[in-house]
Amino acid sequence: MPSTPVMDRLIRKTVERHLPWNVHIDLTYRCNERCVHCYLDHEDYGEMTADEVKGVLRQLADAGALFLTFSGGEIFLRKDVFELISYARGLNFDVGLKTNALLIDANRAQRLRELGVRKIQVSIYSSDPAVHDAITKVPGSLDRSLAAIRFLRAEGLQVKLACPLMKQNITAFREVEALAAELGVPYMLDLTVTPKMDGDRSLLALRNSPAELLSVLQDRNLNARMFESPGEGSADGLATGSATSSGIESSAYDDVPCSAGHNSCYISPYGDVTPCVQMPKPAGNLRQQKFEDIWYGSAEMIRVRAARESQLRVCSTCSIRSYCERCPGLAQMEGGDLLGPYERACELAEMNARLAGVPNPVSAMREKFESEGIPRMMARASGLVQLSV
């Protein structure tokens, strides 16, 4: 999603000053759904206590963080979740939540509105309960999530549907779009399916092939809405959904591969700090170190922050780079190199370029491998195209 001039200016300032203004905290990895594509291990290995989280929030506020996303796992499994939201709002954070909403009733929706939560993202995989519930493995979950969304809307809260697309629900996007219209909320398609946090790549079998995604990317209605701008001065571009991207495009990021480590970071339930949820190597742990020491001084943050577009091996010379939604985290995870290409991004870039009318688009990676006579990379592809609508 494109940025606005106001947001552009602010993003530029935070990138230039390395201010961590956008922070994603997973409060728990526990969950009451068992989604087939989920990359998390749902055991609890010692989550930060409420006091520990509050201490982290104070440090983040002091460091200049403004946008805070509480996610998981399912955050409402934490008995102290309202205490933490209230504390964050008391520190003047802009609070967004990611939830399956199964545990939100009318009273809780009212509480969220009273606390000043700005946006709530709910995962919806289909308007067909059989499809949705088969993905979450919880019978009745679609009906419960939709009921919760209606409670939230009745309170006037901003809700966004996130629809991760995989083999199980590839045809669902039009019906989810209709559902979003009926509920009066925006929605977002996410084509990303990532390996598990322990490196297990079995989930990648759930990805749709580029050919299967063609019908999605060719959808005129979808494409028209992809390029709608938020209103002047709106922070909506930060109403992100993908686990892999801030979802906001800005010229302030032109020379850096993404926001990770520049003005955003991720914190796990155990206090590990990483530049992004897709970069699993911890830069430090908040149980042992201060946030500012990790943010400004850790080798991992400095390594990620030093990356520049012009340094990208192969990708910097790619003729279809502008059609590519390369994610540095997935490049590391799937291609083994933060600065390198990975096959899935190249495949999708070629498809996007072809759809845009580029004749015979060839990614620099494919060019390189073909010129060297090397067969297609063995590494299996990742999915990375986020469509914000």
Binding site: T4, V6, M7, L10, K13, T14, R17, L19, W21, A61, G64, A65, L66, R89, N92, F93, D94, V95, G116, V117, R118, K119, G156, Q158, P230, G231, G233, S234, A235, D236, A239
Partner: protein, 97 residues
């Protein structure tokens, strides 16, 4: 005008590099305040009066108190019109009556 201006508690805000960024949760609108306005904003806590804030601005920027008072009043009008300040208590009562 509220003589003890108070920030709307529903807003999110942070001072970033001298300026203040404010987000309205209802419409996601982003507001920016420059350094002087940020000083006024920080003291709009329901405890400082308009005169108190004018004195702080006057001392901080070495301007005459009357000029500072005028600037503070103008900014408070603007912030109020945008819903960034809490409604005065008396208005809340009459609105609910």
């Amino acid at each position: 005008m509220n003589q003890f201006p108070e920030r709307n508690p529903h807003l999110a805000w942070r001072k970033i590099d001298g300026d203040t960024v404010i987000i309205s949760p209802e419409d996601s609108h982003v507001h920016e305040l420059n350094e002087t306005a940020s000083l006024i904003w920080q003291h709009a806590d329901g405890k400082h009066s308009v005169d108190d804030i004018a004195k702080i601005v006057s001392a901080g920027y070495e301007v005459a108190l009357d000029a500072a008072r005028k600037d503070v009043n103008e900014l408070i009008e603007i912030l109020s019109s945008k819903g960034l300040l809490a409604a005065p208590k008396s208005q809340e009562v009459s609105a609910g009556a």
